[in-house]
């Protein structure tokens, strides 16, 4: 509308209701059109920045995807809204904002199939659920086999998955190339492609949007998301139960505490005197300059330590392996991505002249059996959701959903019941090490 000053137009569209109402607004076509009239300069903030209250029913430590999803489902499904999510940095700034966003559920054991497929079900309409576009894209994840051992392992996965009703299928090398034309299936590679396991409804989602969508959703229900608030201690009463948390912004009383701190879980659990079977390793990723759409799916290769997809911006998103030593530095050795790039160049010769733009690392919490720990701890009132290691992004909705149940009821949901801390004593491990040696 030429002639109408932008500010005036905005006032006319939203008389006297800055901030509050906008915060509560739903994203839809009408909102989009209205905001287009003011050049998209007046979308309000999507969640509050509240001061911490003195006491909460539940305090969640860590505002990554898992912590925020937990808060969202606590409020939505269990009516527990007096909840704070405490974050030492900015929300989604941990592994959630650093991962390569692969979503799949073709794990080996029944326990894992239950957990990851629960998440897979929730991904299907998460954007509608949250009224926030998480850009879930079921473009298929293909896992390459390069040795006889790989072929046997992947076929075993395919059969196990099918018995459990989880999608997964075996492709020959030629079928794999048909699904992903840039793939090199020539016989004279160092590790030729012998076939692949494909999960068609697997794919990618936008990591930041998942954190933001859950943050916005939880905030709407009244959950306080408190950033720049590091937890420095866990206070326990004479009976051993938790009383609250010491933070960089003072003491906050809490009836229950959920630790969802990924790579920093050991440090936080030490505050309550609980030793953990975890080690924190650097895991790296990198992206190329953006190019036109040329890569249709996600391809992973555990054997030669490389996996790749193309983002909607056009960048090739490439994941590397972990360093061999523990570290909290959020950086890894240069030889790790260099090794990955060599593998990518061999698998996809057409990318040999691509330039890489950025490389970064996260700190991943790895368990001995490469499966997460979700449940109670020996300390009354203290609950933990950790050990997602190199591959927990895909599980974000399911993890939050079952952990919210665990916190609300004080007992695990049937889906996370096997994922106890106690399994390292009883020996009932859920050994996904073969499935997820480097991979996601």
């Amino acid at each position: 509308m030429p002639g109408v000053p932008k500010r005036r137009l905005d006032l006319w569209l939203r008389p006297g209701k800055k901030g509050r109402q906008r915060q509560m607004s739903r994203f839809n076509f009408w909102e989009l059109a209205k905001n287009a009239l003011s050049a998209h300069e007046n979308w309000g903030r999507q969640w509050r920045a509240p001061e911490p209250k003195g006491e909460y029913d539940v305090v969640i430590i860590g505002a990554g995807g898992h912590g925020l999803a937990t808060a969202y489902y606590l409020a939505k499904e269990h009516g527990v809204t007096n909840v704070a999510v405490l974050e030492k940095g900015w929300l989604g700034g941990g592994n959630t904002g650093r991962n390569t966003t692969i979503v799949r559920s073709n794990y080996l054991w029944e326990e894992s199939e239950g957990l990851y497929d629960h998440a897979m079900d929730l991904w299907q309409n998460l954007s509608q659920e949250l009224n926030y576009n998480v850009m879930y894209s079921a473009r298929g994840v293909m896992m390459l086999a390069h040795t006889i051992h790989d072929v046997q392992v992947f076929k075993r996965h395919v059969y196990a998955n099918r018995l459990a009703g989880v999608q997964n299928e075996w492709l020959t090398a030629e079928e794999a190339k048909e699904y992903c034309p840039p793939l090199n299936i020539s016989k004279n590679m160092r590790y030729p492609v012998l076939g692949a396991a494909l999960q068609r409804k697997a794919g990618v989602a936008r990591h930041d949007a998942v954190a933001w969508g859950y943050a916005r959703g939880a905030d709407k229900y009244g959950v306080d998301i408190i950033q720049n608030c590091a937890v420095t201690g866990i206070r326990r009463g004479a009976d051993g139960a938790v009383e609250g948390v010491e933070t960089s912004r003072g003491f906050i009383r809490a009836k229950k505490i959920g630790v969802v701190a990924a790579g920093h879980t050991t440090t936080v659990m030490d505050m309550a005197g609980v030793r953990m079977p975890l080690e924190s390793y650097p895991l790296q990723a990198l992206v190329s300059e953006p190019v036109k759409p040329c890569f249709p799916c996600v391809v992973m290769s555990n054997t030669i330590h490389a996996y790749m997809s193309q983002s909607d911006k056009g960048e090739l998103v490439i994941g590397a392996g972990t360093d061999q030593y523990i570290s909290y530095s959020q950086t890894g050795g240069l030889q790790i991505p260099a090794h990955t790039i060599e593998a990518i160049c061999e698998l996809f010769p057409m990318f040999r002249r691509m330039r890489m733009l950025r490389n970064w690392g996260g700190t991943v919490d790895v368990t001995p059996d490469r499966s997460p720990i979700i449940g109670k701890t020996p300390v009354p009132g203290l609950f933990v959701n950790c050990g997602w290691g190199t591959g927990g992004f895909k599980a974000t909705p399911g993890s939050g959903h079952v952990f919210a149940h665990t916190l609300a009821k004080g007992e695990p949901h049937p889906i996370n019941a096997p994922f106890t801390l106690d399994r390292y004593r009883t020996g009932r491990l859920i050994d996904e090490a073969a499935a997820a040696a480097v991979a996601h």
Binding site: H264, T266, T267, D270, R275, M276, P277, L278, E279, S280, Q324, Y325, I326, S327, Y328, S329, G333, Q335, P368, Y424, R425
Partner: protein, 96 residues
């Protein structure tokens, strides 16, 4: 990252294989306490600070070393040779 091997001098960590947490103590073979065995097999120090860890100089002298490394800054404050020659070597070299 450079590791100062008491036998070979400063070498890139690429010459070494990482051996993990060096503080783990194996329970006595006749120990029947399951909690101690569980801790030995699974629990790890994983501190956000100084970490005592094992490194094997596979592309060098093939000695095992006990290294104290800050796992946030990667600064190495002590290196000690392990095994049969440890006593002689550690007497001569202060590590670092």
């Amino acid at each position: 990252m450079l590791i100062h091997c008491p036998a070979c001098g400063p070498r890139s960590h690429h010459e070494f294989t990482y051996g993990g947490d060096a503080t783990i103590v194996r329970p006595a073979p006749d120990d029947t306490d399951i909690a101690r065995w569980q801790a030995f097999v699974y629990d790890r120090e994983n501190p956000r600070g100084d970490h005592q860890e094992l490194w094997h100089h596979v592309f060098g002298c093939r000695h095992w070393l006990k290294v104290t490394r800050n796992v946030t800054t990667h600064d190495i404050s002590a290196v000690e040779l392990l095994g049969p020659h440890a006593k002689d070597a550690n007497a001569g070299e202060a590590g670092r």
